[in-house]
């Protein structure tokens, strides 16, 4: 069946005239639809949702709001507008014109980068597919679905790159992105963190705050790529990713705010009798999600990251604003390493410590949200402060994996770890309690007891707006 490309698939890549891309998408698009029906948000495929759709990349086109059923969402293909005379801005090809086609030499590497990034997009939709049933408000439900359809669009963005630039291999990889399943032992998603379920809404906010933020940093690094289509794709994705961060940051903030309100109202730290979530539990969730997200940046010293950089495929965060030679063959970077019951800083080659550098930028960025949440707590005159755990805490990848480190950064024995782990990470009991709070609230404007209302609605609509028509 022929597709009316311009209408069905909004795009700025001249899809109507690109036969190769048409052919690829004609085969892939129905499979995507099937995947969405099978693995997309469960129970809400027929509902009208107040969603934002990007219909073009200019200022009035990228945020078009309307009610739409998710399976009819117009997933489009958008690249940020090209920059005239863009060059490769780092690595051994620095100064060459940016590539408009895949350099044969880097085909395998680029495909791997794109597939790894692309795999996370459908994975998170799969991880979150049960959450709709327990939404704390119609507003939040809509935000969940907005995040989901945008992850879907990000999948489209990566598939576009595979289909348009990688021939048959690319098409096969694009299909494989729809074949893997989060958490399925037989065909798991590529990265470990994307095979964990998102069991409750607190986890969802934490995920969008911490794990999607990793995605943001990865995208930002890829936006520096010398392969121009990748750079332009990622730049446009970053505008959408900002919304996911917003959902996470305001979500955790609203939970913290509600907890503070309940603490003051009942003059107690123990909110279980009052249906709230203790700040201590929030801190444990922070510890968990922050530490697993740190792992997503990979090992401290990485040859792959170095190769990606030297090849001009993946830059550093805000590469062109960094004041150095952008080649890094001689530079060093300060890396924290484990040493006898402590940590030590060493100057590692800058090229092989790019993961750590990106992780440092990420950690600094994470702290900003905590500062804002702490401000909310302070406004309620409560003596409690959220803190990020030490980077070595609860790590499964890199130099710290296998070590037992407290959130404060002390080396502890296995015995001590076993004794205190429930103070540091959500216990089964904590998780069960949080799950027990997850009762759907479906009246416009109402919020679940454990979360405060947002400061404002979506697109200028009031909070009572019926964001999801059930």
């Amino acid at each position: 069946m022929a597709i009316d490309y311009a209408e069905r698939i909004p795009n700025n890549v001249n899809l109507a005239d690109n036969r190769r891309l048409q052919r690829a998408l004609e085969s892939w698009q129905p499979k995507f639809q099937d995947w969405w029906m099978e693995m997309g948000p469960e129970g809400f495929q027929a509902n009208e949702i107040y969603l934002r759709t990007a219909v073009s990349v200019d200022s009035d086109g990228w945020a078009h709001f309307d009610f739409v059923k998710m399976p009819e969402y117009r997933w489009g293909i958008f690249l940020a507008e090209p920059e005239a005379d863009r060059a490769v801005n780092f690595g051994q090809h620095m100064g060459d014109p940016a590539w408009q086609e895949v350099p044969g030499e880097y085909r395998g590497m680029l495909r791997r980068i794109i597939v790894t990034q692309g795999d996370t997009e459908p994975a998170s939709v799969e991880q979150q597919r049960q959450l709709g049933r327990t939404s704390p408000s119609l507003y939040d439900l809509r935000n969940l679905f907005q995040v989901n359809v945008e992850e879907g669009r990000h999948l489209w963005a990566m598939v576009y790159l595979l289909d348009a630039h990688f021939g048959r291999d690319g098409r096969e990889e694009a299909e494989a992105l729809l074949m893997r399943r989060s958490g399925d032992a037989d065909k798991p998603r590529i990265l470990g963190a994307f095979n964990e379920a998102t069991p409750d809404w607190l986890s969802f906010y934490m995920f969008t705050y911490f794990t999607d933020r990793d995605g943001r940093f990865q995208l930002a690094s890829l936006a520096e790529s010398g392969f121009d289509p990748l750079s332009r794709t990622c730049r446009f994705m970053l505008t959408e990713e900002a919304h996911h961060m917003f959902v996470g940051e305001t979500g955790v903030g609203r939970v913290a705010q509600r907890s503070c309100e309940l603490m003051n109202e009942h003059d107690t730290d123990d909110l279980r009798p009052h249906g709230g979530i203790d700040l201590a539990i929030l801190q444990k969730y922070i510890n968990f999600h922050f530490s697993v997200s740190l792992d997503l940046f990979g090992g401290e010293l990485s040859t792959n990251a170095a190769n990606y950089f030297t090849s001009g495929l993946k830059g550093r965060f805000r590469e062109i604003q960094i004041d150095d030679d952008h080649v890094l063959s001689d530079g060093t970077y300060r890396v924290i390493e484990p040493a006898q019951n402590a940590f030590t800083e060493t100057d590692a080659p800058a090229l092989t410590s790019l993961n750590e550098r990106l992780r440092d930028a990420y950690i600094a960025d994470c702290q900003r949200g905590l500062d804002r949440w702490n401000k909310v707590i302070a406004q309620h005159d409560i003596d409690f402060t959220f803190a990020l755990p030490h980077r070595a805490f609860h790590r499964a990848i890199g130099l710290f994996s296998g070590l037992r480190i407290s959130p404060a950064g002390e080396v502890v024995t296995q015995d001590e770890w076993d004794r205190r782990v429930d103070d540091w990470l959500p216990s089964d009991q904590d998780r069960a309690y949080v799950r027990s709070l997850m009762e759907p609230v479906t009246s416009p404007g109402l919020m679940a007891n454990w979360i405060a209302a947002p400061a404002r609605g979506i697109n200028g609509q009031p909070i009572e707006f019926e964001y999801t028509k059930l």
Partner: protein, 549 residues
Amino acid sequence: MIDFRTHPSRYNHWRLDIDGPVASLFLDVEESAGLESGYELKLNSYDLGVDIELYDAVQRLRFEHPEVNTVLLRSAHDRVFSAGANIRMLAQASHADKVNFCKFTNETRLSIEDATDRSGQLYIAVIEGSCAGGGYELALAADRIIMLDDGSTSVSLPELPLLAVLPGTGGLTRLVDKRHVRRDRADVFCTLEEGIRGERAAEWGLVDEVVPASRLAERLAEISSMAEKGSRRASEDDGVVLSDLAREVTENRLEYKSLSVQIDRSLGVAGFNLRGPAADVPESVSATQESGTGFWPLALARELDDAILHLRFNEPEIGTWTFRSDGDPDRVSAADAFLANHADSWFVQETTGYLKRVLKRLDVSARSLVSLVEPGSCFVGTLLELCLASDRTYMLEGTFEGDNRPPAIIRLTDMNFGAYPMGNGCNRLESRFIESPENVEEHRQAVGKDLDADAAEALGLVTFTPDDIDWEDEIRIAIEERASFSPDALTAMEANLRFAGPETLETKIFARLSAWQNWIFQRPNATGEVGALKRYGSGQRPSFDKTRA
């Protein structure tokens, strides 16, 4: 000093589990236990130390566990089978170390194939997680490869695109000659850094079967149950323990029970002296099994194996190995007769098989081999193979002045006619007389006869037969001359002359290992300052000289 003697209780990198007829060898490389400093064995990557333990395990399975008929090669890690030879180790190793390492690695892989062919121990590689380079080459040595189909498990030979070297320790050859992967597909596979996963790997013949994770346990249970029903050479109790090999190493001497080696550093010569049996061979198979590693042919095989490996790795500048022997020819004949008459005993088969492999190790050793047959020697049958493996053999005609021992003799036994084939599939007589197989018939007529220098020369079994007046000078000059030549040229020449006859998988692998693999290790595109192997891990890209040589 590199020591090849180890024991499962001392393994750093492997775990050997035995469950009835099924043994599981789990690769579990200890990152910090590399043989040298300067690299970490991440991701189950290996160095010589890992291979030494694998070799030990393969040997022990044959002797100590004759009840085992199935060996599963597995990884103890769930995300990686093996990343192959450790690249930083290779990048820092000298050329000689790389060559030695690859040769030993391949010998071990051949011993795995030999265990499947000759000892009925079927090796099955079970790949979970990525299996790259030497990791896949190891899997290729197995008879069967089972791979997990989980979307991420893959097999790959990324040496060429990643490092500008070759999967040359048998990988390329086994791909097309053993697994019969079509050459164009092999070309694609070997240039694909990330390798191939799932169904396509099976379709292309890179693996035998792919199994989803949820079915793997069931599949392994099927294999165990097949193994239960399958044949076993012996029961658990019949195994012969390979006791710790006793030896004394001093600066210029190696002393074993049946063998000593004296090193002359000024001439660059290691003089092997092999001692014949100190007593008559036991009468029965059960008695030999009882004596275990005390059984002379087995003791000799183990000691010779250890000495060869020791000299190869620890004495690289000792370029000539001479072989003398000392003992009663009749006792060696009797031992050979025992081996021939009890060829249906698994223990005798293992012993003969071990001798075969040690002799093959000698064939591919990059040293000049010279046998010296003097009065009092016992170059009979099995020991005569050393003369036949040598580049030259000198035999004294008559006796030394003042020595009342009778003149030296050599003797052929049945063991010279097929028990110890070379890598090319021929026995050493066939390969030696490649143009006139009828000569081999003539040799058969001579089995059991004492051959003095004249007779031995007439049969073409020795090179020169100086008398006592010339002997000392002849030998000295020959050895001094040898020491004056280029060691590289000698190695190359000897390797070219030793293997007359047909090609086999084995000879192809060694030849290509010696030629292409070692050539590429010398090329600036791999090992130059801006070559791929040197630059690997630095994050800097290699720079290639584009000239095709």
